[in-house]
Each structure stands twice: as structure tokens, then as C-alpha cells.
């Protein structure tokens, strides 16, 4: 049976959701919805979606979708989840999950109580480099993680950056963690699988990287210390190129994943003595990169090299979990750990908002 999908929220990210939904043959997108009729209409026309609505209640009544993708700003996530779950929908939620951790808890509790499934769009976790890194960890190649570095670059001159800089009323400015809250999920959810501690020590600092760029803080550094593993989480708006990397230092080996280039390279313990030990590593690394490059060419030739490949993988797993009634692809406790860590970070960098 084909799952019926609907989307509420017809802003920029809805394009990405539609693009990936359409690649999954076992589902059908039946309708889109936005409070602003022009926005709902434009999305439906551009993607030939059968119907559009500006009233979610009406959509839920008429279309009876199996899954609702919520791609609205996080301010509305809790109320929309409650409404959609009451109508029998499973939920695919765009990040950030909610304004506050307590709302994230309420969102998950709502879905669990009603026996509905929920996933959050942590798509980089399902990109090939993240999966490969997880494989290296789970097969013991890395040993025990000692330290993790998760880095994300951000272009304030990009489409989204420009939109929020031009509009002081943009919903991102209303978030307790402002710009960071819209991005840090992707930094922290890559760390949590390696972190052993539920309540790690967290120290965060933030500042404006460039004078005259407005009031928005755009550089964030976070130190995290768990019982046996530590981590650095970095959000950086001014370094170039704009990258996204994850580095895991293990007791056996260290691995470096580059999400922009889609590579994972292992830095192995050296067996060669003296100067020879300094001579061979660049060649071994070059060989690794060559292998990764060929792997990427293979993915490209099989049309598995899309920008949102990770989202397609995540959606496929989520829809499958609904059909098979198996656990959703991201454990709820992981979502809540990320949400709790984010709240602790934002309390430190925007204490006035919390007050």
C-alpha cells in the first residue's frame, strides 16, 4: 500500500522535501498546505502537486494523509504535531524540533502516546560519510572514541543567510538560540552517537565575527566533556570554504569525514620506524582519497550523488519503519539529547533571552 504524504509549510526547505519524496516510489505526495495561499499555490504549481490548501484542518479531513511533513518554523511545531497526530498522521519534522527542550519532549510524547512514529530531518546523519564513520566505529576500527570534533561552516551571503539578514522579523531572529538554533542540530547530532554521558559538561562562547554585520552572533564554539569522551562543536560563518566535517579520535585510529567532498579518511597508527614513519603516511592518505574519489564517481554514475541524498535515505527508512511497524530511524532519546544540549548552549550564549 502506498503511503499518502502531505506537507505543511511551503517555504524554502519544502522544495527539498518534495524533491526527495518524489524519488521514493512507494509513496505519493497528495497535497501541500500553507497559511499563505500564494505560497501553497506556487509550490503546488511548480511541482505539479495535485492539491493545495491554506487550512490544515481541511487538508487532514479531506486528504487523510498517512504522514505529515511539518516544514513550518519551529514556533508552530508542537501545535501542528498535536493536530496531525490527533488526525492519525505520522510526523516527519523539520529541524529545529522546537523552541525549547520541554516542547521537544511534548512533541515526542504526543507521537508516542498515540502510537504514531516521528522523525526529525537530521539528514546529514544519513549521508554516506556519516554512515561510513558509524561503520568504522561499530566494527571497532576506531576503538573507543576519545574526542570528537564536529564543524559546520555557514554562508551568511547564501540564500537563507540573505533572507534572514534582510528581514529583522524573520522567524530565526525569534528563536531563543537565534541563528545557531537553526543549525546546531546538524553539529550536535553527529556528536551524540559517540558521547557516553547523558549530562555532559558544556561550555559555550559566541561572538560576532565581523564588525558592522548587524547584531546577530555568528561564531559559536562549544566544549563538551562526557565521562570518557570529549567534543568540540563549532559553528563558523566567516571561514572559507564553507565546510562540514566530523573528526573522531579513537583509541585505535582517527577518522576524518568531509561532508562537502563526501570522503572519509582513516589516520592509522604508524608501524614504520623513525623517518620512514613520517615518509609513508601522505601516500597512504592519498591512496585513501583516490579510493574515495572513485567511490564517489561510482555513486555519481548510479545517480546516488544528489545534494539531499541523506534525506532520501532517511525518508526511505522512516516510511519503511511505518510500513513494517519497526523502530524509527532516529531513536527518540537521541533527538532529546540534542535538544537538551542545544538549550544548555543557548542559555549560555543568550542569557538575556532565557531571563
Amino acid at each position: 500500500m502506498s503511503l499518502k504524504i502531505a506537507i505543511v509549510g511551503c517555504g524554502k526547505i519544502a522544495d527539498a522535501h518534495i524533491g526527495e519524496i518524489r524519488k521514493i516510489p512507494s509513496v505519493q505526495l497528495c497535497a501541500v498546505c500553507d497559511l499563505e495561499p500564494i505560497m501553497a499555490e506556487q509550490l503546488a504549481v511548480r511541482y505539479a502537486v495535485p492539491r493545495w490548501y491554506c487550512d490544515l484542518t481541511r487538508l487532514l479531513e479531506v486528504e487523510k494523509p498517512d504522514v505529515l511533513h511539518i516544514t513550518t518554523p519551529p514556533q508552530s511545531h508542537l501545535s501542528l504535531t498535536r493536530q496531525a497526530v490527533a488526525a492519525g498522521c505520522h510526523i516527519f519534522l523539520e529541524k529545529p524540533v522546537a523552541l525549547r527542550h520541554s516542547d521537544a519532549e511534548a512533541i515526542i510524547a504526543t507521537a508516542v502516546r498515540a502510537g504514531r512514529k516521528l522523525a526529525v530531518n537530521y539528514w546529514p546523519r544519513f549521508e554516506a560519510p556519516a554512515l561510513e564513520l558509524r561503520r568504522l566505529y561499530e566494527t571497532g576500527v576506531l576503538g573507543n572514541p576519545v574526542h570528537v570534533e564536529s564543524y559546520i561552516g555557514y554562508d551568511l551571503g547564501g540564500e537563507f543567510g540573505l533572507a534572514l539578514r534582510r528581514d529583522p522579523e524573520h522567524w530565526v531572529h525569534q528563536l531563543p538560540g537565534k541563528l545557531f538554533q537553526n543549525v546546531m542540530d546538524h553539529v550536535l547530532n553527529k556528536i551524540t552517537p559517540f558521547l557516553d554521558d547523558q549530562q555532559p559538561f558544556i561550555k559555550a562562547i559566541a561572538w560576532r565575527g565581523k564588525a558592522g554585520a548587524g547584531e546577530l552572533l555568528d561564531e559559536l564554539r562549544v566544549i563538551i566533556q562526557g565521562a570518557r569522551t570529549s567534543a568540540y562543536a563549532t559553528f563558523c560563518a566567516h571561514a572559507r570554504p564553507v565546510g562540514q566535517t566530523l573528526r573522531v579520535y579513537g583509541t585505535k585510529n582517527t577518522a576524518h569525514a568531509d561532508f562537502a567532498a563526501r570522503t572519509v579518511v582513516l589516520e592509522r597508527k604508524q608501524g614504520f620506524p623513525s623517518a620512514l614513519g613520517r615518509l609513508f603516511p601522505p601516500f597512504l592518505t592519498a591512496k585513501d582519497y583516490l579510493g574515495q574519489g572513485l567511490k564517489n564517481v561510482n555513486s555519481f554514475s548510479h545517480a546516488h550523488f544528489h545534494f539531499f541524498e541523506g534525506m532520501r535515505r532517511l525518508l526511505s527508512e522512516f516510511y519503511l519503519s511505518i510500513e513494517k511497524d519497526s523502530p524509527p530511524p532516529i531513536p527518540y532519546e537521541e533527538i532529546l539529547r540534542v535538544s537538551a544540549m542545544m538549550e544548555r548552549i543557548f542559555r549560555q550564549v543568550y542569557p538575556e533571552v532565557e531571563a
Binding site: K12, A163, A303
Partner: protein, 343 residues
Amino acid sequence: MKVLVTGAGGFLGRNVVERLLAHGYTDIRCFLRSRDKAEQLQALAEPYPGAQLELCYGNLRSKTDCEDAVEGVSLVLHLAAGLKGAAAEMFADSVVVSRNLLEALEMREGMPMEKTRVVLVSSFGVYGVAHLGRRARINEKSPLEDHPELRDTYSHSKLRQEQLFWDYQKKAGFELVVLRPGVIYGPGGGAFSNRVGLQIGPVFFHLGGSNLLPMSFAVNCAEAIVLAASHPDAAGQVYNVHDDDLPTASRYLREYKKHVRRIRSIRLPYFAMRMLARFLEAYHRRSQGQLPDIITLYKVATAWGGNTFDNTKLHALGWRQLVATPDAMAQTFEYLRRQNAKQ
């Protein structure tokens, strides 16, 4: 008469404000998104001692800001539009803001709608030329695009915006004048329209060849807008806006290379472009969008099929080209050369 100019801080907007002043308008409200352009605009009014520029800051996405903007005005020149960014942003900045503005006009009390004139700056992009055949002549009676979803988002959003204005005009009864400029250029603008070609990596692919470019120098375009805004016969009319002595894409590129900077360009003839588009379109479908569909047969026929253009209707209104094309190109290239030197 109080005039509102939306998008007054933009490349075209500043020229429109200058032409309004030159035509004797003295009470002009400039709607701006930021304060960056305030000084530049105020400087425009200095040679006109009796003129008053009221700078009004806000965002047309806000209904309250729209209400403030239209308060007491009887002539609205709507230039603000989404020119770049994600599709959703462009629709929000072109269509949603237009709806907000029109609703604010409709809600006003004490200002009769039939005595209010609204001038919309639309675009050549609203025409559906893909099926017209090469060298077809484009005038105001040419068909509008019936497959906007196959076009670029800018054209799609401008078409929807124009439809919205005509719908509200029927409902509210204000005087509507629509201008459809071609490629607006000049100091402050960009170097190349897609009609000339596309920069892909280090190479510029010259795709326009001997096609005429429907260029409109910003000063000439602004003059057309102000003239149409003022002329009693313009109510309910549409005007194509472009200059008289139109350059070909080859001439524009040649002169750019001569006066601004040397660039590496490869000339791709129309038939080769069609072959490439056919291949890319098939690949886009087969790979489910691994490469974007920026070059399709439909877009190739629209942008590089080659049309001729007709501005007779604008001339009949009394419009004359204030800056001749050679001077306009010289001014533009001098600006681009200086910009290039700065970088």
C-alpha cells in the same frame, strides 16, 4: 500628488526617483528596506529645492508596513520584486508583498480608488515565446507564458504578480498601468544577462550570438515608467520597454571584452545548445535531478531562440530614448571597469 515608489533604493528605483523629480513631482515617498541608500536618494533631490523625499523604511511582507506606505498616496510605482534567492523567497518578495500592498490600498479610507493609479513594473519574462519560432516579433499582444513552471522562478513569479494586479484592478477599480522592461542595464547593474550567455566555472559560454538583446538603459527605462505613470491614456494599458538601437549579444560581448576586461568565452551555436539541452534534460530525468534542469529545450527556445522587439506603443505615448545606446553602453562599461578594478 503624493507618489509612492517601492524598491526605491534599488538599481532601477533610484533612476525612477530621479526621473520623477525631473518631471516635476515634488512629494515622493520612497519605500526602502534598509537605510544604506538613504544618503544617495537624498542627494538626488538636492537640485530640486521644492521637492520633498520622504524616506519610509520597512518590509512589504508586513501588512502594517504596507498600510503605512500607501497612506495618502494617489500614485503607486511598484518596483520592489524578488530578484534572486530560493524560489519561495522570490514568490514571497514578488507576489506576497504585491498582494499585501494591494490589500492595503483597498483597505484605505478617504482615498477614492478610481483616482488612484498603480504602475507595476513587470518583465519581458511574462511572455511565452518558446513556441513562437525564431525571429518572432514580440509586442504587447504576444501571448503570455502558459507553462510558467517550465521557466525560471523569476519569470514565473513575475507572471503571477502581474495576474494578481489585473485581478485586483478588476475588483477594486484603480487605474493600472503595466510596464514590461526587457534587460535593464546601466551603472549599478550587472554585467551580463543570460540572453548573452552563461558563466560556467572559468569559461563564459556565449549563447546569444546574433540575437538582438531587448536592452533598456536604466535612465531610459525610468523615463518610460514615469511617462506612463503620468499619461492619462496609459490607464489599463501594457507597454513593452526597451531602447531603440538594440545591440546583438555578440556586439555586447565584444564591447565588454574591449572596454571592461578580457574573458575567455566559447561560442555555442543554437543547434549545439539544443543538443546539449536535450541531453541534459534526459539526464536530469534519468538521474532524478542529480544535475539541475537549468538548461532545457524550453528554456533554450525562450532565452536564445532569438526574437525581434517592438516598442511602437511606448513611442506613441511620447517616450523618447534619453541616452543613446552607444553612450549607455559606454557608461555601463566604464562602471563595470571600475568595479572590476576594485576587485
